[in-house]
């Protein structure tokens, strides 16, 4: 399991993926809104989305895990 983490404090503006989705490194998972900027959180590795740890509108801090990626299958 690998966590995708928020790089910056902000609120969760949009969740792009759903649990079970296949993702690759660099794919946007969620979009944070901070300083009027839409800042995507990218997948750190190949795998599928095993858990989304935040809800839209929620405030996250820098370093908070936001999406859990299962990188053990088909990696």
């Amino acid at each position: 399991m690998i966590d995708a983490k928020a790089e910056i404090v902000g609120n969760v503006w949009k969740i792009v993926v759903r649990e079970g989705d296949q993702v690759g490194p660099g794919d946007p998972l969620i979009v944070l809104e901070t300083m009027k900027m839409e800042i995507p959180v990218h997948a750190p590795a190949h795998g599928h989305v095993s858990r989304i740890l935040v809800a839209e509108g929620q405030i996250v801090q820098e370093g908070d895990p936001v999406v859990e990626i299962d990188d053990t299958v088909g990696a």
Binding site: E33, T34, K36, M37, E38
Partner: protein, 498 residues
């Protein structure tokens, strides 16, 4: 006086020749490099220089019978320009710095400072040489003092090709740029064993001071490369943008046109919607000469870019916000990164091109706690002090508040600034400004969201558009993206008439 026969003279000479030849053989015997090392200290010095140009200082100098000073020092040419080198010899007492080694390094530093030649330190040292005691520490201190003296005179570059531990680690920190080789370059005050004994922390050498840690987390090193040869080539590449000393001429090459595809794309690179991110590298490629770039600290504090490149063959230092990373905000870490780069360019009169798209300084408890005020002020100081450099600034999208001032504004002394026609320059963004200026109106409105949107659009057009700044003379002109390079080229022409 007895008669000296010809035979006798011949014998004396040949024994002298033999002794010298033996000394040289002993001194220059190739000691197979240990561990992951590929080249000896002398080979590293030779590889740095143009072929056949390396001249060694005092090659027979010995710390004590049988042991060398532990460093190869000398000078040579890099692309035809003189450069001094001090290359630690890990084959002698693990490259540890003793009294004689320190003296040899100081002599090379003095030579570089007095002549006005850049100096390169090839580091591969376990630290101070313990048997030399306080003499070793004194020698290290003298090296540091000369590192500081050299800052006002010549470029200093450090490469880390092995351990660089203890006292040895401070010298690179006093030089301008540090390049580390992945896997076998390590910098730390104390290695894993001492750390374990002192605090109980169990950590590997890579975790304490590997290139990954120093180029991504600590910011102690500025470039990570794969091999020894690549490290030395990176030094040559870096030197190609720098004058030999603070009063030296910039190394100008033949002009190379911009990449036509990048130039063509320039007008569509920046999304119109101010909240959508893009890669600022695309703007850099659409403005600079096609070809060589050297990005320093590419993996550290990535929401700003610091890049050496060329415009019409002249070296420039580019500072740019990077919206693709953390929205391009300014924070404590990247403020230090900008300040260091601008200060360096300013010291050596390298033109500074600043490309601006910045939402502001990141507010909140975390950044205030990191001392954003102190670190942000370093950016202001660096720009204001870089009077020797031609400072040219282009606002490609938004420049709000304190971040507008910090990013190479004419307010701080930039020679000229331009804004693209869609840019916004204002005390704050439309959203925030409308909330502040029209609080009561918004509270009383039937449809506050619609009113807010209308007022924000009005603010954007009437207040934030760059014409206000242009009419006040705070920026030079409002331009189309595709005009950017021509404006910079024309402004840089003043450099021909200094």
């Amino acid at each position: 006086m007895p008669h000296v026969s010809d035979d006798h003279v011949t014998t004396q000479t040949s024994s002298g020749r033999t002794r010298l030849d033996e000394r040289r053989r002993a001194r220059f015997a190739r000691v197979e490099p240990r561990g992951a090392r590929v080249h000896t200290a002398r080979e590293r010095a030779e590889l740095l220089m143009d072929e056949g140009t390396f001249v060694e200082f005092t090659p027979l100098r010995a710390a004590q019978p049988g042991a060398g000073s532990g460093v190869v020092t000398g000078w040579g040419l890099v692309d035809g320009r003189p450069v001094v080198v001090a290359s630690h010899d890990a084959a002698i007492a693990s490259g540890a710095i003793g009294a004689v080694m320190a003296e040899a390094i100081c002599r090379a530093q003095r030579f570089a400072i007095d002549r006005g030649f850049p100096i390169v330190f090839v580091n591969d040292s376990g630290g101070a040489r313990v048997p030399d005691g306080i003499l070793a520490l004194h020698g290290c201190g003298e090296i540091f003092a000369l590192n500081v003296e050299a800052q006002d005179r010549i470029p200093q570059i450090s490469v880390i090709l092995g351990p660089c531990a203890g006292a040895a680690a401070y010298s690179p920190a006093l030089t301008d740029w540090t390049i580390m080789v992945k896997g076998h370059g390590h910098m730390f005050l104390t290695g894993p064993d001492v750390v374990r004994a002192a605090t109980g922390e169990d950590a590997t050498a890579d975790e304490i001071g590997g290139s990954g840690m120093h180029t991504r987390v600590s910011g102690v090193a500025h470039l990570e490369v794969e091999t020894e040869v690549e490290a030395l080539q990176s030094v040559r590449h870096l030197l190609s943008y720098l004058p030999s000393h603070v009063d030296g001429e910039l190394p100008v090459t033949g002009p190379v046109p911009v990449n036509p595809i990048s130039a063509e794309a320039l007008s569509t690179v920046v999304p119109e919607k101010a909240s959508v991110v893009f890669d600022m590298h695309d703007v850099i490629d659409g403005v600079l000469d096609n070809g060589a770039r050297l990005e320093l600290m590419p993996e550290y504090a990535g929401s700003v870019l610091t890049v050496f490149g060329r415009i019409e063959g002249r070296p420039v230092g580019v500072v740019a916000n990077q919206p693709a990373v953390r929205g391009g905000i300014l924070d404590s870490q990247n403020s230090v990164k900008i300040a260091r780069f601008v200060e360096f360019c300013g010291r050596f009169g390298i033109p500074i091109i600043t490309l601006v798209d910045v939402p502001g300084f990141l507010p909140g408890t975390v950044e205030e706690g990191r001392g954003i005020i102190t670190h942000g002020a370093k950016v202001l100081k660096a720009y204001a002090q870089a009077r020797k450099s031609l400072r040219l600034t282009v606002v490609v999208r938004k420049a709000y508040g304190g971040a507008y001032i910090a990013m190479g504004s004419t307010s701080l002394g930039a020679d000229a600034a331009w804004a693209w026609s869609n840019a916004e320059i204002a005390v704050m963004g439309p959203g925030g400004a409308v909330g502040l200026l029209h609080r009561r109106e918004l509270a009383a409105a039937e449809d506050p969201a619609a009113l807010r949107e209308r007022l924000a659009a009005e603010y954007r057009e009437n207040v934030a558009r760059p014409y206000v700044a242009a009419e006040a003379g705070i920026i030079e002109d409002v331009i189309h993206p595709e005009e950017t390079r021509d404006r910079l080229v024309a402004a840089m022409r003043v450099l021909e008439h200094r």
